[in-house]
């Protein structure tokens, strides 16, 4: 009897996983069947239009690339520096403990709140306007906890013998970190950065909140340009009642998912190479 119960329970648990995966399958199928036929070079190269069948994602795609690149450029140095402090310098200090607690909490603050911070601080107070810079700064703050966390993990994998070897040659702490520890941790750091950016690339709410526009008749040409991004374009299309625009939304989702998957593939590739190197 209890044995049958056990089996039943195991099946029920397994079933939840099956249901979750089936839902994922349905999602992918839904989007593919709605949007795949709409994908074409023209769709990538055309700009937004009132006519659904002439509209494309060019400006949004360019905006996404600008914003994500700048987000990475901002989040990488700051996140790595913060992680180095917490992992190599601040261990045991009360300030470091407080900062750690704070980062853990920030990681769970809703992204739309970051949008309000960006609106109040970057767009208004610092006068950046609704620029690529304001958007990237907002997303960089959002990505920082992930970058810091993964960098710390990467730093922890560097064996202490390497640090000792460097110290024994008369290297200072910073020389040791810069010349030996950081290069060894780099693949792990980059993997973490890419994963953080692949989360940021799908963020919609904070960029809408800082006032990124849904229709932009040009691609950004500097960090002070106004911009739109793929997720906002998707949101814009999905909010329209016409079916044709929903089809465009599905196609744009496919573009976004391909971007996302390629970023993840790069991350896996880097991590894989790193692991193989580590075993030499």
């Amino acid at each position: 009897m209890s044995k049958q119960m056990d089996l039943l329970f195991q099946l029920a648990s397994l079933l939840t996983l099956v249901v979750a995966l089936a839902a994922l399958g349905a999602l992918v199928f839904d989007i593919l069947s709605d949007g795949a036929s709409r994908l074409s070079w023209a769709f990538l190269n055309n700009i937004a239009s009132r006519n659904a069948d002439q509209a494309g994602v060019y400006h949004a795609l360019m905006g996404t690339i600008w914003v994500i690149t700048l987000t990475g450029a901002l989040a990488l140095p700051i996140g790595v520096a913060a992680a180095i402090y917490l992992e190599e310098y601040g261990t045991r200090s009360r300030a470091a403990h407080f900062i750690e607690l704070n980062i853990a909490n920030l990681a769970a603050v809703p992204s739309i709140i970051y949008g309000l911070l960006g609106l109040g601080l970057f767009v208004r107070l610092m006068g950046m306007g609704q620029s690529v810079m304001a958007g990237a700064a907002t997303l960089a703050l959002l990505a920082l906890p992930v970058v810091i966390l993964s960098t710390r993990e990467a730093l922890r994998t560097v064996p202490s013998s390497i640090r000792e070897g460097s110290y024994a040659l008369g290297a200072t702490k910073w020389q040791t970190i810069w010349n030996q520890v950081l290069p060894m941790a780099l693949p792990g750091v980059l993997t973490g950065l890419i994963l953080a950016l692949s989360r940021a690339i799908g963020e919609t709410a904070p960029l809408i909140t800082i006032g990124a526009l849904t229709y932009i008749p040009f691609a950004p040409d500097s960090v002070w340009s106004k911009f739109t991004v793929l997720p906002i374009q998707i949101f814009n299309w999905v909010s329209r009642p016409q079916v044709e625009f929903k089809t465009n939304a599905a196609a744009a989702i496919l573009v976004l998912l391909v971007l996302l998957l390629s970023m993840n593939a790069i991350a896996i590739f880097v991590r894989d190479r790193y692991q193989r190197q580590g075993r030499v």
Partner: protein, 293 residues
């Protein structure tokens, strides 16, 4: 410059970068507090927190936030009905039953589920789940709380399962072996020994999931509607706190107006709710870690 001075400067610079996170929190609180303070000059706090009508964008302005809060709670509750039991069962399966090869395949797939942009889930809720549900529930309107709630539950499920699984795997083997030695089945061991032992860790995961649901924006902005309504009926259009912020941000509401300030006041409320939940979750997780350190 001497080496020592240089090293000292570098350490200060690194510290500043680390301290930026504290400044971020301070910045969030400062920005929200400033505009909320201005807002509360014009709207009494009691009216804001207990009023049952929310119409800041209409001529007849009312600033009772309850409809938004209740809308948020409604969608979040539906999401939790999906995510908590399913997430926990999935975690039990992965931690107590699954062969390690199966785990290694299934975990990355669950991570994909967590990595899908929320705007995509919004699309899925609006164009797939809602029409599907309407076939069984003809009274379901095109915008509703049910469909985004279910999809949100799906999105949050990996968070619950992965954090709960971590907590369960941290339970010492000895406890399990003691239970098996008394003739308990795997189910009895999982439910009566492992889950209770991992209780604070699992609770922490649940609380974090609630916090995530409350702050989730795009799914509800797309599929739940934009009608602030004080109701527990999951079949009709409603509006959540987050969706309201998006709605105002999409229009051009001039800075300094009361409409503009409402989003910060709502944001403040949202921040306090999620930050409070996060603190409790962090505290529980730390307690759990101490138990089995």
């Amino acid at each position: 410059m001497s080496t020592r001075t240089l090293e000292w400067i570098i350490e200060r610079l690194l510290f500043l970068c680390a301290a930026l996170s504290v400044l971020t929190t301070a910045g969030i609180i400062a920005v929200l507090a400033f505009e909320t303070y201005e807002f509360l000059h014009e709207v009494p706090v009691l009216e804001f927190l207990t009023g049952t009508e929310w119409t800041p964008l209409f001529a007849n302005q009312r600033f009772g936030v309850l409809p938004l809060v209740v809308g948020t709670m409604l969608v979040s509750s539906i999401a939790m009905v999906v995510a908590l039991p399913m997430g926990l069962l999935a975690a039990i399966y992965l931690s107590e039953y699954a062969p390690s090869g199966f785990r290694r395949i299934i975990k990355p797939v669950l991570e994909i589920l967590a990595g899908v942009p929320t705007v995509v889930y919004g699309y899925f809720a609006l164009t797939f789940v809602t029409p599907l549900l309407q076939q069984f529930l003809p009274s379901l309107s095109g915008f509703n709380a049910l469909s985004p709630g279910l999809v949100m539950g799906l999105m949050i499920l990996p968070l619950v399962s992965s954090l709960s699984e971590d907590a369960m795997r941290a339970v010492p083997r000895g406890l399990r072996e003691g239970s098996y030695a008394l003739g308990a089945t795997r189910m009895q061991t999982a439910l009566k020994v492992v889950v209770p032992a991992a209780f604070s860790g699992i609770t922490a995961a649940f609380i974090l999931a609630v916090s995530r649901a409350i702050g989730e924006t795009m799914i509800v902005a797309i599929a739940a509607g934009q009608q602030p309504r004080l109701t527990a009926n999951p079949f009709v259009p409603i509006e959540t706190m987050t969706a309201y912020i998006v709605q105002v941000s999409l229009g051009d509401t001039p800075q300094g107006t009361i409409e503009y300030r409402t989003i910060f006041a709502v944001g403040m409320l949202l921040f306090l709710m999620t930050f409070g939940l996060n603190l409790v979750s962090t505290w529980l997780r730390q307690r759990f870690r101490e138990e089995y350190a």
